[in-house]
Amino acid sequence: MAGDKKKKIVKTIKVNADKCNGCRACELACSSFHAEPRYSSNNPARSRIRVVRDPLRDIYVPIYAGEYTPSECLGRDKYVLDGKEYDECAFCRAACPSRDLFKEPDSKLPLKCDMCEGEEVPLCVKWCLVDALEYEQREEDAEEEEPAGEMELGLEALARKHGLRSLVDAVARMASSDKA
């Protein structure tokens, strides 16, 4: 896998949940920016950032839409931080079948944060006037990835269809029966 040293840009939105005032301006700005034509409509339900918000429990977690996943996790996790218990999946960015988050309200197609490609900073950061969101960009050395071979593409497809775990189980079963 050794490749040439290459540079890649890592874009990060630093979320300071302590500063979040729960106003959801980020959601509004995101939905507005991604409307066609730009800014023509507003609808936080289309936003790629959501504030998981429960004021009475003092829970404010802005999260960004990450990758789409076709299947739920097999297990769930719950976090307790500073005495506050967060809901299952509170920090997870995936658009997943277990919840309604990060799906277009009409088509139910998954949404994904694109860091507002082409803008100086993502719009959610720009419109977070209480500075709970900060944009950072850095360069990192990157290994050049080799293009995925035919076998990997095939396995990925199988994993998507059946879930990685059952695929691994199946391969393990094949391996052990082969040994025998």
């Binding site: 106003c23 800014y39 009475l56 003092d58 419109w127």
Partner: protein, 669 residues
């Protein structure tokens, strides 16, 4: 295609259990904008002056403002309008929070409630799907508790809930509607909701709100955001700290309460404690607030953090804003720990933070004076704080003396008699006011107290400094970047205004100048209330980001119809006059346009008469405060003139005042 607004109202008849989605006429938007403006039109058209506040005919309208749901920062207000059981006039209390934008995203500009449900219900609006659902299991539950239970029951954590507590269910005349971190409290609109058998309205919306000229609109929003940043970094000098910045007064942030505690009145708006604030109290109250305040929070799409989550020891967390921080503390002559604690109960019960504490202090004053006796308070604890908790409980349950007190000080005093009336001394139009008693008449405030039909001084004041600055240099500095004025003459008024001497109060600003100033201040509030903008970013503070010069641009880029300053001023005047017309048709006259008798020690009857005479003329009202036929026709309100003539309120031939004038001299308590 409709822009900024959705173009639909949701009509709900609770008597029949009927729900309808009704398309609206875009022409009405151009004439009355939305929010308060279109609410007033609906009330005029559909609720006759004979309709009782507690009756199926009375409407309860929840309206989003015209620009709610758009990216305009701070535009999130729900304007709730109905006929008040307390004042028997039009009430148009408002709330921030998250309800109005959600309603827009669900596809409606307003929810119009009529009729009365035979049993307690709640309304569940989920985009196009609307259900009237049983709420008998929620009877007696707190307003905040109700919201949490409903969200759980519907499995909709993102739904927004406006709910009443026990006070609303029991039709307490100062019951509020609680929602998110906000409430619509004034005028007893929660009681009307209770009378309709409606425990809550729950809304979830995932549709689009469109803009007519999006790029232009966003540029306007960016200018506003930049100016908010500028103002946050540049507080206004020479005014008290709570007036120096933007937002509603930052009560959840400040620790120094010297100004409020030494200038506002304690008890039943009686006692001024000029040396109250000291180091010990400052330390103690700071510790109290710091230990209970969990976070500063905002309404939808707003950076101002005017509210806070408060967690009093041993009690559930609740959300508080603004001056209810001190109203209970000061009414009970107690401390901040008590105030923040009882406010939690008051929020769950759903009562107004001005009226409720004052009513309780009034009751205890009557007890002290012997007008009420110990027999009226069976089982009341001995300790001061305990008495307030006990009274609050009786009031929201309408038990014993609580049943009388639940009608507010004006009606309670009438019922109690024995001279109780003079203890209901802090009302305007039967409605309890901020506990303020001052020395010399302020002519600007005189007009605002008299004619502010929201019947709350904070809902008409703003824009113009409350007091003159000491030196000319300070005043020159202030007017330098005061671009919000509708006309440069306001700068001149302020430059000439001196704290002492010839050009000082009460005779300066002159009567004419006072009319201009009050009219400007009121206009900005009315525009906010139609657009759904929070007064904290617009009509209330000095030098706000929204003003008469950029509002027309917001409206035309957002809603897509032509708007300019003149047209906007005219529209605001139109629905402001319509609010007055509704109240006039319900019997309000000049005799009702007055401040609490003892608001100022030093009064100037001749000047006051001249102020009111001139202001009425300026507004196009006759000397009894009734809009004239001529001014009504000019505003396109000929239908109001016709109705007034039909009812004998105005005469066909001229605008001379009717016989009501005779009553003006006397007046009620």
């Amino acid at each position: 295609m409709r822009y900024a607004e959705t173009g639909f109202y949701l009509e709900v008849d609770l008597s029949r259990g009927n729900v309808e989605r009704v398309a609206t006429d875009p022409k009405e938007t151009e004439l009355y904008l939305g929010g308060l403006g279109t609410n007033a039109k609906i009330l005029w058209d559909r609720v006759p002056p004979e309709a009782e506040p507690f009756s199926p005919e009375n409407l309860l309208i929840f309206s989003a403002g015209l620009l709610c749901g758009t990216p305009a920062t701070g535009c999130n207000r729900t304007i709730v309008s109905t006929i008040s059981p307390q004042t028997r006039l039009m009430a148009f209390s408002m709330m921030g929070g998250f309800f109005a934008p959600e309603l827009k995203y669900a596809g409606y500009d307003k929810v119009i409630i009529r009729g009365q449900s035979p049993k307690l219900v709640y309304l569940w609006i989920n985009n196009d799907k609307v259900e009237i659902r049983d709420a008998t299991h929620l009877a007696g539950k707190g307003a905040v508790e109700t919201a949490e239970l409903i969200k759980k029951e519907l499995k909709e954590p993102n739904a927004q809930v406006a709910a009443i507590g026990l006070a609303g269910e029991n039709r307490v005349f100062f019951a509020s509607i609680e929602q998110g971190r906000s409430s619509a409290s004034r005028g007893g609109i929660g009681a009307v909701m209770g009378d309709k058998g409606l425990k809550a309205i729950v809304v979830r919306g995932t549709k689009d709100v469109s803009l007519a000229r999006p790029a232009e609109f966003m540029n306007l929003c960016e200018d506003v955001a930049q100016y908010i940043k500028f103002r946050n970094q540049n507080p206004i000098p020479n005014v008290m700290p709570i007036l120096a910045g933007l937002g509603s007064p930052q009560e959840m942030k400040v620790h120094d309460e010297k100004w409020h505690t030494e200038n506002f009145m304690w008890g039943n708006s009686r006692l001024r404690r000029k040396d109250f604030w000291n180091e010990d109290i400052a330390r103690e109250w700071t510790e109290t607030l710091d230990s209970m305040r969990r976070r500063l929070i905002s309404c939808y799409n707003c950076p101002m953090t005017c509210g806070a989550t408060i967690a009093p020891p041993g009690r559930p967390t609740y959300m508080m804003k603004c001056f209810s921080k001190l109203t209970y503390t000061m009414a009970a002559m107690s401390d901040l720990e008590f105030g923040l604690g009882i406010a939690q109960s008051a929020t769950e019960y759903g009562v107004d933070g001005f009226s409720a504490p004052q009513v309780m202090a009034f009751a205890l004053e009557l007890l002290e004076e012997g007008i009420l006796t110990a027999e009226d308070f069976p089982g009341m604890p001995e300790d001061n704080e305990g008495r307030f908790y006990w009274l609050l409980d009786r009031i929201v349950r309408r038990e014993g003396i609580g049943d009388i007190l639940a009608n507010g000080t004006y009606w309670a005093a009438k019922q109690i008699g024995k001279g109780a009336e003079k203890f209901a001394h802090n009302n305007i139009k039967k409605h309890e006011q901020l506990p303020l008693k001052l020395s010399m008449l302020n002519p600007i405030y005189f007009l605002m107290y008299c004619t502010g039909e929201k019947i709350n001084i904070t809902q008409i004041e703003g824009q113009f400094p409350q007091a003159p600055f000491f030196t000319l240099e300070e005043r020159q500095e202030f007017v330098k970047d005061w671009f919000q004025v509708p006309d440069d003459k306001f700068k001149q008024y302020f430059l000439e205004w001196e704290p002492r001497g010839e050009k000082s109060m009460p005779f300066f600003p002159t009567v004419q100048m006072c009319c201009d100033i009050v009219d400007w201040q009121e206009r900005m509030h009315y525009i906010d209330d139609a657009l759904g903008m929070c007064a904290g970013l617009s009509s209330f503070p000095l030098k706000p980001p929204y003003h008469i010069h950029n509002y027309p641009k917001f409206i035309s880029a957002g809603a897509g119809f032509d708007m300019d300053e003149e047209k906007l001023t005219q529209a605001a005047k139109r629905y402001r006059t319509l609010v007055r017309a509704i109240n006039i048709s319900r019997g309000m006259r000049r005799k009702d346009d007055k401040p609490p008798e003892n608001h100022w020690k030093k009064r100037f009857p001749e000047l006051e008469k001249e102020l009111l005479d001139t202001y009425y003329k300026f507004k196009g009202w006759n000397q009894d405060g009734i809009p004239t036929k001529e001014s009504l026709i000019e505003l396109g309100l000929g239908f109001v003139a016709d109705e007034f003539i039909k009812r004998g309120i105005l005469r066909e031939d001229d605008d001379t005042p009717s016989q009501e004038m005779a009553a003006a001299a006397g007046g009620e308590v």
